[in-house]
Amino acid sequence: MRLYAVVAAGGFRRFATYRVATVAGVFTNTVFGFIMAYTYIALWDERPQLGGYDQAQALTYVWLGQALLTTMALMGGGFEDELIERIRTGDVAIDLYRPADLQLWWLAGDLGRACFQLLGRGVVPMAMGALAFQLALPSNPFVWIAVLLSIVLGMVVSFAMRYLVALSGFWLLDGAGVTQMAWLAGTFFSGMLLPLNLFPGLLGEVARALPWSALLQVPADIMLGKRTGWALPGAYAFQLGWAAALLAAGRMLQSAATRRVVVQGG
């Protein structure tokens, strides 16, 4: 357990080193936040209470989305490119010799990265948004804790999906196509482009049931008070369920893949 804590801290520190890049990222997240906020204002001017949100809640959603964009690695930028590269070059064999579990090792490092990006690239854009617009931020500290817990669960779901993407490299050698498909699905089905409760009919129901909704829509609904009381454990169960299922799938794929490495290395 201590080992993984060290790996997570390493992941955190590694991204904390790029200070200029972080400031540049904050700038970009803020610019995008402003553009999206204005389009949402136009949309909610036309249809107040759209999707059950009022305008302040819709704007809060925009800025939470910017805060979670890199945290959840919705458009890539997590560990997966590195693992794919290690699979392609065969360096992954070294990882397999380590006295650590491959999946937990990368999970720990990626959680460290995600925590840094939540603090480094999430907090400041959110504060800028709160300064420039009327947001509906929760005043109850317990809601904030509930949101944070949900964000952490979202991080695990995000990792579990990208781990599957990375492992596909064992069979495909070139992971570019799969990573691209993954971030396409990530931006669309997480609710990054538009809240999932605005998706019409069956598309909306499917989108809300898919694992990507655990990355942004579920934390946002907790933050905006749409999931309280008994709906709150329901939201966590949804995230935990996807995390467990996807991690288990990753584990199965991993053992199939490691058998393959032995064959290749033989």
Binding site: Y18, V20, A21, V23, A24, G25, F27, T28, V31, F32, F34, I35, Y38, T39, I41, A42, L43, E46, R47, L50, D174, A176, G177, Q180, M181, L184, T187, F188, L193, L194, L198, F199, P200
Partner: protein, 267 residues
């Protein structure tokens, strides 16, 4: 200039040949590129499943703005999209290799890893533009017809200048390629929506400081017969090519200044 174009064409041609070695992979990534940008328009379509107008504009009008901006940006991304790798080259020292070659550095960097798959974005923009022209109820005059291709091309040149200026900034900032994304990807996202959606200060910024408004807003609003929310004369709709040339001169100057300021990492 001619030398630069020749170098660009040679390097880009090499990348095209290497891409075409894996045709299936090229088709898939081009399709992915198409889909990636199409989702932005899908989001607008989803918005219009709830409303009939956004900022006072109909779906057809927004599609016209969107298609023009996306096609312009697509062309500049195809030609200049590799410029954002400059920061990495400055950091890892591989820029030095390019400096000793007998070809303009700008051409070498712009053509580096030339990605033909970016045609997916161009195609998507042009399709939406075509759809918009099909559904719009515009009183087409010869001037308006001519203004559409002029708008797309001068817009592409303006975006290219932004790419070069952003890359020049990397000579000093090194690690800040994301700032460039705010102006390129952020800029195109902004222009995909009508100007009435945004605050006046933001409009002043993209009209008089970084002249993105000339990419599509000013010419497109002339075609649509709509007033521009800022108090600017109507003939500014035709200024696109002039602004594009001015942007190129400024970006070129910034580039030379940056290149002169470059200090190798020594590694």
């Amino acid at each position: 200039m001619a030398e630069g174009l020749r170098a660009y064409w040679l390097i880009a041609g090499m990348w095209i040949r290497s891409t075409m070695a894996y045709r299936a992979s090229f088709l898939l990534t081009a399709l992915g590129n198409f889909a990636a940008t199409a989702f932005d328009f899908v989001a607008i379509l989803l918005m219009f499943s709830h409303v009939n107008s956004l900022g006072g504009y109909s779906l057809g009008e927004i599609a016209f703005l969107y298609g023009a901006a996306a096609a312009s940006f697509g062309f500049s991304d195809l030609v200049m999209g590799s410029m954002d790798r400059l920061g990495r080259r400055v950091r890892d020292g591989t820029l030095d290799t390019l400096l000793v070659r007998p070809a303009p550095v700008l051409a070498q960097i712009a053509a580096d890893r030339f990605a033909l798959r970016r045609l997916g974005r161009v195609t998507q923009g042009l399709l939406v533009l075509g759809y918009a022209i099909g559904v719009l109820d515009v009183d087409w005059t010869p001037v308006k017809i001519l203004l559409v291709p002029v708008m797309v091309l001068s817009g592409a040149v303006i975006f290219s200048a932004v790419f070069v200026a952003g890359a020049a900034f990397q000579f000093w900032a090194q690690d800040a390629s994301e700032v460039q994304n705010a102006f390129t990807y952020g800029g195109v996202t902004l222009l995909e929506y009508p100007p009435t959606v945004f605050a006046k200060d933001l409009l002043r910024g993209v009209t008089f400081v970084v002249p993105l408004a000339f990419v599509n807003w000013l010419p497109a609003l002339y075609v649509l017969g709509r007033p521009y929310p800022l108090d600017v004369p109507r003939w500014t709709a035709f200024l696109g090519p002039v602004v594009a040339v001015a942007c190129c001169l400024l970006a070129g100057a910034a580039w030379r200044l940056g290149l002169r300021a470059y200090r190798s990492t020594g590694s």
